[in-house]
């Protein structure tokens, strides 16, 4: 995706300027990672107890065992010493093993990353597919019945607590039996299905969590889109265009739409980073085997290597998202000089 954008962007930017811009952004990544990882590490350190502490719930476990386990996981030593150790390994590409699962963190995260991206990607798609046309329509026909209806629906989507909505959907699934009660696939019959059936089965499982996750986002984007449309349609250049005899449709799509979508593009870059963490409540309620759930569990269990790797990955996603947003912004609104 990035390269495609770059090529299109190159059409209106001198190649060197773009290169410098991108290079400068990429240079900022290592210090950012350093800062983020240190803050996260320090906070984990500041939280009381560590991964081994919870094992003491078993009254039979001895003090010696706990101490030795601590040593085995490298939990003994001061903050700087342990962070240094982590950093040294990390720059060599070794992010360590999950304490709880004894698996390399990237193997673990890799399994979940795809699942989470499928879910949040689908809901983002749903949100944009609904929000753009509805927002434009509502903005154009301000005050009409359609506008009011769209407003009401979006308010509804914004006002319902997501966890609660998710739970209602699970109950809906259980009562009507139209949809499966959570999970990402039919784990009982999975092995006997053809690839085609497996695909259909996964889509079937995807419907409800996507609706829950997508609704709130749809509402937010739609409000934003409508607001921008209303504002842009009132601007001089739109009026001028209308005065010049362009049809409403042409004005909307050639001028107003591109103008109004601008802040939304920034939101899009931002949402790329949120893809990783935004879905965790839904993942829990729907038993979706995603990354957010893994990381939240890891935070509660103080499984340091997993938390650290997730955080670093989220940071990289964010930088990438922002870069893409800025490049898109430059493409859509040529008045903006990138950088």
């Amino acid at each position: 995706m990035t390269t495609g954008v770059l090529q299109r962007v190159r059409g209106w930017l001198p190649g060197s300027a773009l290169g410098v811009f991108v290079a400068r952004r990429l240079l900022a990544v290592p210090p950012l990672l350093l800062a983020v990882s240190f803050i996260t590490f320090a906070l984990l350190e500041a939280a009381p107890g560590d991964y081994v502490t919870r094992l003491a719930e078993d009254p039979h476990i001895s003090v010696e065992t706990l101490a030795q386990l601590r040593h085995r996981y490298g939990l003994d030593g001061g903050l700087m010493e342990r962070y240094g150790r982590w950093l040294l390994n990390a720059v060599q590409g070794d992010f360590g093993y999950s304490f709880s699962k004894e698996i390399g963190v990237f193997t673990l995260i890799g399994e979940r990353l795809g699942n989470t991206l499928v879910l949040s990607g689908a809901s983002l798609l749903l949100a944009w597919a609904l929000a753009l046309p509805l927002g434009v329509m509502a903005g154009m026909r301000q005050g009409s019945v359609a506008d009011k209806l769209v407003s009401f629906i979006s308010f509804f989507g914004l006002s319902i607590p997501r966890v609660f909505f998710a739970l209602l959907m699970v109950m809906f699934a259980a009562t009507t039996k139209w949809f499966p009660v959570g999970g990402m696939r039919d784990l009982v019959a999975w092995d006997t299905m053809t690839p085609w059936q497996q695909l259909v089965d996964q889509l079937h499982h995807l419907v409800l969590p996507t609706i829950v996750l997508g609704t709130t986002q749809t509402a937010a984007y739609m409000r934003q889109m409508r607001a921008e449309m209303v504002e842009t349609l009132g601007k001089d250049f739109v009026r001028t265009a209308r005065a010049k005899g362009l049809s409403m449709r042409q004005v909307v799509w050639k001028h107003a739409f591109l103008n109004a979508v601008n802040p939304l593009v920034t939101l899009f870059g931002y949402s790329l980073a949120a893809l990783l963490t935004g879905s965790f409540l839904v993942e829990i309620v729907f038993a979706w085997p995603g990354l957010a759930r893994l990381t939240v569990d890891a935070v509660f269990a103080q499984d340091e290597p997993v938390v650290m790797a997730s955080v670093c990955m989220a940071t990289v996603m964010l930088v990438a998202g922002n870069l893409i947003a800025d490049l898109l912004l430059g493409k859509i609104d040529p008045r903006i000089r990138v950088g």
Binding site: S151, S159, I160, V163, L167, Y270, T277, V299, N322
Partner: protein, 363 residues
């Protein structure tokens, strides 16, 4: 988000005039006004204290739908309910005893409370029989009055959002404005700071911070800490968007004109540029106040929000997160209704405000 002080009389009056014409927005305003009054006067309006337990009458259904004025014989009593008896000890099922009316009295003496420094025992209403409490919205699993807890819980739920958004918007506007307008190195550095803040995984950060600061502070205070954290993370998103808008706004002629006139750059930012982000600020603030209210629900789900026995709408709604309660004791969704109501009202009001504040809106 004002531009300057004195000449604002006019615009604000216009704003109010336009707002008044928007029925939905006014409905939102009225609802919010009523909610705020109700939660402020919670100690007086509620018949009990939010911790009072009637353990032998837990999961009592709401009296709201069972209020009577006349008894079966046709005699007038004023508002009353019938006493109810537990069917068996364990399965919280109740039966009305039609022979035993319990009258509702007004301006009764009940549990003591302190309100605005005044100690009092006066409550708006209460049951005439102390062993037969009145549960307008039903009782929860400890036999506490849900109506009372809604009022007290609203005090927290209705205030945190305002506080959070005030902090995060102010910082967001300033940083976004400066970065967008000055550009160059300032922009680069500020945006890296924004990225750092955004890259800090807010959710995990909150969970960890709640663990670090969770000890030995009353739960209301520790929740305030979480709100502050949310705000200090939240400003970065606003700053980014505002910067994007400022980049576009500063190309406008009137900005160039102001520059040519030699106005100070901070003054240009505050007077000419930021006011143009008003619609965004209002829309965002409107969406963000509910975000704090809903955020508390999510934190409660993870048990890091307000803790029992304190009440908040979020932690009360936790009872509704059990399928059994939802089917057998449907009144557990009452806090959900109030969350919904408050969030809707904020949205309608904000939407109306935005339309009213739009200088190009048709008169």
């Amino acid at each position: 988000m004002g531009t300057s002080t004195a000449p604002l009389q006019g615009p604000w009056r216009t704003l109010w005039r336009r707002l008044r014409r928007n029925r939905w927005a006014m409905a939102g305003l009225v609802v919010l006004g009523l909610l705020y009054i109700a939660v402020i006067f919670a100690p007086f309006l509620s018949p009990y204290s939010y911790t009072t337990q009637f353990r032998d009458q837990n999961w009592h259904p709401p009296h709201m739908t069972r209020l009577h004025l006349w008894d079966d014989a046709g005699a007038f009593h004023g508002p009353f309910v019938y006493a109810s008896n537990r069917l068996d000890e364990f399965t919280s099922e109740y039966e009305e005893d039609r022979a035993k009316p319990v009258e509702i009295d007004f301006f009764v003496r009940g549990e003591p409370y302190t309100f605005l420094g005044i100690e009092s025992t006066l409550h708006l209403f209460g049951s005439s029989d102390p062993t037969r409490p009145i549960f307008l919205f039903g009782s929860d699993k400890f036999g506490r009055d849900v109506f009372t807890r809604i009022l007290y819980g609203g005090r927290i739920s209705m205030s945190v959002g305002l506080l959070g958004i005030a902090i995060s918007m102010t910082i967001g506007l300033l940083i976004g404005g400066i970065a967008g307008y000055f550009g160059g190195r300032t922009d680069f550095l500020l945006m890296r700071l924004v990225e750092l803040i955004l890259a800090l995984p807010g959710l995990y950060l909150i969970l960890v911070i709640r663990q670090v600061f969770g000890r030995d502070v009353p739960s209301t205070q520790s929740y305030l800490i979480v709100v502050l954290v949310l705000a200090f993370i939240g400003w970065a998103g606003n700053a980014r968007v505002i910067r994007g808008m400022v980049l576009s706004i500063k190309e406008n002629e009137y900005v160039t004109a102001a520059e040519a006139l030699g106005q100070r750059r901070m003054a240009i930012i505050v007077r000419h540029i930021l006011p143009n982000t008003l619609s965004f600020v209002i829309v965002t603030a409107t969406l963000a106040v509910p975000y704090y209210i809903l955020g508390e629900v999510a934190l409660s789900f993870l048990s890091v929000g307000i803790q029992e026995p304190e009440a908040s709408w979020g932690n009360m709604l936790r009872d509704a997160q059990d399928v059994r309660n939802l089917t057998d004791f449907p009144w557990v969704v009452v806090p959900g209704f109030f969350i919904f109501l408050a969030v809707m009202a904020f949205n309608f009001l904000g939407d109306g405000l935005r339309d009213a504040a739009d200088p190009r809106a048709l008169e």
